[in-house]
């Protein structure tokens, strides 16, 4: 089956702190149709995200398909709060990269 990378389909793919103990991820699409296609493909779900990041599903605090913004959004618990010794990403701003390469089937 042919596929496209999520990076080619989404307008914005980002991560950022949501409070001191959570990192939230936003995947935003410019077109409604693209958003609906990615949603239907089920390539972005609690299960796929947990597998991609190698984390237990319980670490995902929220998973939301946010229609008003054509966006899929999920949030994970940090293992230790931001800024704890050894935390390499205090703002949580560089945790989204693995999402870029998610393959989305093209019908």
């Amino acid at each position: 089956m042919k596929s496209q990378k999520l990076a080619a389909l989404a307008k914005t793919i980002r991560s950022k702190n949501a409070g001191v103990n959570l990192i939230t991820f936003d995947i935003i699409f410019a077109e409604r149709s693209t958003y609906e296609r990615v949603k239907e493909a089920r390539v972005l779900t609690r299960a796929t995200v947990a597998k991609l990041y190698g984390i237990a599903p319980e670490r995902i605090s929220d998973f939301v398909e946010f229609d008003p913004a054509n966006a899929i959004k999920f949030t994970i618990y940090r293992l230790r709060p931001s800024g704890s010794p050894g935390d390499p990403d205090i703002f949580g701003a560089q945790q989204y990269a693995p999402l870029l390469d998610i393959e989305v089937p093209v019908e």
Binding site: T12, K16, N17, A18, G19, V20, N21, L22, T24, D26, I28, A30, L52, Y53, G54, I55, S61, D62, V64, F66, P68, A69, N70, A71, K73, T75, Y77, L79, R80, P81, S82, G83, S84, P85, G86, D87, P88, D89, I90, F91, Q94, Q95, A97, P98
Partner: protein
């Protein structure tokens, strides 16, 4: 009941176009926001000037964030340079006095601690003197809560409830905490506006409340007042194309909020405004503030002009119990940092053994506990750690950041030095290069700011929305 008693109830709608406000009829209230985190990077003056030219009713910005980590709160410092703080405050103050409209700042100096409020109040006084501004009323409030005050409340039976996975606060964690700020809602801002403040410097406060307060003060419904705050709090982050520190203008009416980008090349679109509702929050539908929750589930977004989006349908639900968020930082120890590089592919494949060797040497000297030694391996999993899907495919060269944290600076320095230098002597069985396992760009370790952690990320019940936020009034200018 703990219900909010200080904020005026939303007044009844008198007609479809007018609201009774504290000082007369007001169809709409317009606020400009030039910066989502005042001081962190300077405002862009061009779009701010355009915002001022639109003659808003209020100029407001938030100046704080917990994004910067626990160190500024713990050490009672700002992460923003004073020159940048002064730059932004100067532009806002001059515009506010020229237009004769209030200027409101929340979470002064990054943390909103008492010393940061005092710093901003002094900057405002100095600027007023520098420009010989006509005398004006300068209101301010504090947000710190003392450790012993909190301990008394806990011993009296109050549960200090944890947020985001934190357990309820216990006295051991309280003892480990250096400084605590409470997150104000609209209440101290409204009180100071009622008292006639021309400029308000706030301690730690919810971003959205900086903007919601003047709308509530003028009698607009809480529903859209809090939404107005939500959409304005990060300035141009609600506009597109992406570009921070540009001014946006928000307008609240009887039944909606309109938001307009001021920069000539930016627009507030349905996508950019709805998209901003998600920013920095775990759930895009709800925003919790002291006293209630903004519910954006039924928001309706409509593009009404090329640069303007109209939003309606927001709901504010008052909480049954008045709870205030607390933030606290506790010191872990003094800190030193070192760094090394590795190029030999065999050594890269065995980098865990190299770090293990050095860690053992620290253990031989200092034992297993009472300090922290952290390695961050850039080129392998330095940024994402255990979540890095590619950590089994390291790059052709690595940089390793070493951090040593201990109760004294001397001990932290020695831990960091052993943890760094001993990597040079790591004994790998089949390594060809026997003259040193790592490359030093710096043959030294450097003192860093002390290490702190977020000890408190909790909520506390209060009887009175103002009890943690004492307000004061002074004056500035000539």
């Amino acid at each position: 009941m703990g219900l909010d008693r200080s904020v005026p109830r939303p007044l009844p709608l008198l007609s479809s176009f007018a609201l009774l406000a504290g000082n007369g009829f007001m169809r709409s209230l317009r606020i400009i926001c030039p910066n989502g985190h005042l001081g962190f990077a300077p405002i862009r003056v061009e779009s701010f000037r355009l915002g001022v030219a639109a003659r808003p009713d209020c100029i407001a910005a938030d100046s704080g964030s917990d994004d910067v980590g626990p160190i500024p709160l713990g050490t009672d410092t700002s992460t923003s340079p004073r020159a940048w703080q002064t730059h932004d405050l100067e532009h806002m103050l001059l515009a506010s006095r020229e237009l004769r409209v209030p200027m409101i700042i929340g979470s002064a100096g990054d943390t909103g601690a008492d010393s940061r409020v005092d710093l901003y109040v002094q900057i405002i006084k100095d600027l007023a003197a520098k420009h010989a501004l006509p005398r004006f009323k300068l209101g301010y409030f504090y947000s710190e809560i003392g450790r012993e005050d909190l301990r008394r409340r806990m011993r009296a039976g109050e549960t200090v409830a944890g947020l985001e996975g934190y357990e309820a606060l216990n006295e051991a964690e309280l003892d480990a905490t250096e400084r605590i700020v409470a997150m104000a809602g609209v209440h101290p801002f409204v009180k100071l506006l009622e008292a006639g403040a021309d400029v308000i410097i706030g301690g730690r406060s919810s971003d959205s409340c900086v903007f919601a307060a003047p709308a509530i003060h003028h009698g607009f419904a809480e529903d859209h007042a809090y939404y107005l705050g939500k959409v304005l709090e990060c300035a141009s982050f609600c506009a597109e194309p992406y570009g921070g520190k540009e001014t946006v203008l928000g307008e609240i009416t009887a039944d909606a909020v309109l938001v307009t980008a001021m920069h000539p090349a930016q627009r507030c679109t349905v996508a950019s405004v709805a998209g901003h509702a998600m920013y920095e929050r775990s759930n895009p539908y709800f925003e919790h503030v002291a006293g209630g929750t903004l519910d954006m589930s039924d928001c309706h977004y409509e593009q009404v002009a090329p640069k303007t989006t109209r939003v309606s349908g927001a709901k504010f639900r008052r909480a049954e119990e008045f709870r205030v968020k607390l933030e606290g930082a506790g010191k872990i120890g003094e800190r030193y940092v070192g760094m090394v590089g590795i190029r030999d592919p065999y050594t890269i494949a065995h980098v865990d053994e190299v770090m293990g060797w050095a860690r053992d040497k620290v253990r031989e000297r200092f034992g297993d506990a009472g300090y922290e030694l952290c390695y961050t391996v850039y080129g392998r999993d330095g940024i994402m750690g255990e979540m890095e899907p590619m950590r089994d495919r390291p790059a052709h060269e690595l940089c390793i950041l070493v951090q040593g944290v201990a109760p004294t600076a001397e001990m932290a320095e020695e831990i960091c030095m052993i943890g760094t230098r001993q990597m040079f002597y790591a004994r790998l069985p089949d390594v060809k290069g026997s003259a040193g396992s790592v490359a030093f760009a710096l043959d030294e370790v450097l003192r860093a700011s002390p290490s702190y952690r977020w000890t408190i990320n909790h909520t506390l019940r209060c009887d009175d929305p103002l009890e943690l936020f004492p307000t004061h009034m002074t004056s500035a200018g000539i």
